[in-house]
């Protein structure tokens, strides 16, 4: 039998040959894949980051619970230049508030992250303490429904781990979370 003879004569040569073929194939495939992808790959200048599109956000409240971090990297941002500086703020007070004071029963924020400062009659300036904010979006909902929509949820970039696939984006009801270049992002409401 030819096969039998072959083995006896040089038991390594066929394996050697197969291995060479394998190497060539593997090397070739690396080159091919690398080549194809190198044309597609974009340089680091256009790195992408997870961002929330505030116009699509429905404040469903999943940002608070779905982030991989113990406290979500999504925080409430405030666009002062859009804000109406209202006394009766839909993001600061509960919907059917009676007394406009800082008592717990009147306030919207569960962690007390929104503070306000009197500016002049009748205007108040609102500030978010991002260390306290848990990204629940209650105030955003209030502001979007009753006010100018100056409060909005956005991913805080120094907290975000920039996961390969953002866990919140997977459950975002409106597909508002996408990976976009930071420079071209839609993210901040008050600068075009």
């Amino acid at each position: 039998m030819a096969e039998d003879k072959n083995i006896k004569k040089s038991p390594m040569s066929r394996r050697e040959f197969l291995r060479k073929c394998g190497s060539a194939l593997a090397g070739g495939s690396i080159l091919a894949t690398g080549g194809v992808l190198a044309t597609k790959a974009k340089g680091s200048s256009s790195d992408l980051f997870w961002q929330i599109d505030p116009t699509m956000c429905t404040q469903c409240g999943r940002c608070e619970t779905e982030c991989v971090l113990p406290v979500s990297a999504v925080k409430c941002f405030h666009a002062n230049k859009v804000c109406g500086y209202c006394d009766l703020c839909g993001g600061y007070y509960r919907p059917s508030v009676k007394d406009l004071n800082t008592a717990a029963e009147n306030l919207m924020c569960p962690t007390g992250a929104i503070t306000r400062k009197f500016v002049e009659e009748p205007y108040f300036e609102y500030t978010i303490d991002e260390n306290l904010c848990n990204g629940c979006g209650k105030c955003v909902k209030g502001c979007t429904s009753f006010g100018n929509g100056s409060l909005f949820l956005q991913i805080q970039q120094d907290l975000c781990l920039n996961c390969n696939e953002c866990k919140i984006s997977r459950v975002c009801v409106s597909g508002a979370i996408q990976r976009v270049p930071y420079e071209a992002a839609y993210k901040l409401k008050d600068h075009a």
Binding site: S44, S46, T58, V68, L161, N164, E165, S174
Partner: protein, 420 residues
Amino acid sequence: MKKILVFLTLVLSQLQAWAEARFPKPDFTSGYQYPDIQHPVPYEQFWNGLDVVLLVAMMSVVAWATHKKQSRKAIFGVSVFSVLYFGFYRNGCVCSLGSVQNVVLALTDHTYHLPLYVLLIFLLPVIFTFLFGRVFCAGVCPLGALQELVNVKNFRINKAVTSALSIIPWIYLAFAMLYAATRSQFIICRLDPFIGIFRLGGDIGLITFGVILLLISVFVGRPFCQFLCPYGALLSVFGSVSVKKMEVTHKGCIDCKLCHHCCPVDALRPPYANQVKEDRLKGVKRLLMYFIMLPLLTLAGALFVGSNSQALSRAHKDVHLYDLIQLQEANPDMDPILEVTAFNEMGRTMEELEAQVQEVQQKFRIYGYLAGALIGFVLGFKLIRLSVKRTRKTYEIDHAACVACGKCFDYCPQNLKKNQ
């Protein structure tokens, strides 16, 4: 903080008229100025560059340690550094394992944006493996390194069981590629058992899974690498045909069995005299049968996964949304589903969604066939490999399985002689 923050000052002059403004912009008379709010902007380029440089440097160190120096010390050092830096400091994202999905997505979807460093993170370990064996697995990969560091003693598992289990990474890989190509989800990232440990928090189920794997890896070498890792499966192919092969010692084996005894992944094949216990013709027939089986298995796998692609496509967001809408319509009394509410609010139409769903299902069908074919092919190929008889005179490294951890170097008496 762990990221260098560059602060962006908002340009005060540019003010976008917000379409829904219910209340006019206040006219301040007290000279009030808008506060200068600063948001940190990301500065990832430096870190991504550093990751790639460190990746190359660490793999070079391991290659040097395995091929030239034949010592475990450097590899161990690399492992510790990798766990601390890639694992706990950089929080392991994006890692080479996950980058497979980005690459597959870039290959199948031309609209996908593949950053250069992700390509490098995917390709560099493959190239190094092709050149020097699985030096990436040795200790550069934080997942492998973590398991390696907690490993104290090795109990050997039945070889027949391990080789049967070695099909799992390929199934995992096939499904990961299927889900990535259809843009459904990145299951390798989602099911990464160690990411929660590196981040010191996360999904409790996955952390528990990771801890169990680590407890197992105290007594069994690298369970994740051996029986789950999809990237490891890919690298094992390149490892088995690598240009430069690793050796336990350059000085000649004395058949002391120590390397075989210490290997955590059972990658050392003992000397074996090819004593055929069965009729030779029978063996040849079996081999031939498996060669015929190979295309049949490939086809069967393709048909099996392809025909079930409809069910698999539910992992896609749009298909899921479509199902939810159907569910809501069938049960109008149930509490409104958030997704459906958002769908209606955004004014998306059912026709548009149906078209999208059909497109996704079409993709699932195509890539389902491919993924099934891959699984069937790997199964057939493995069966062929298991039907071939080999004769070995000394202990040899199985380069597909060897993760280049370098334990055997420290055990080999020949090496010790040289190093003294």
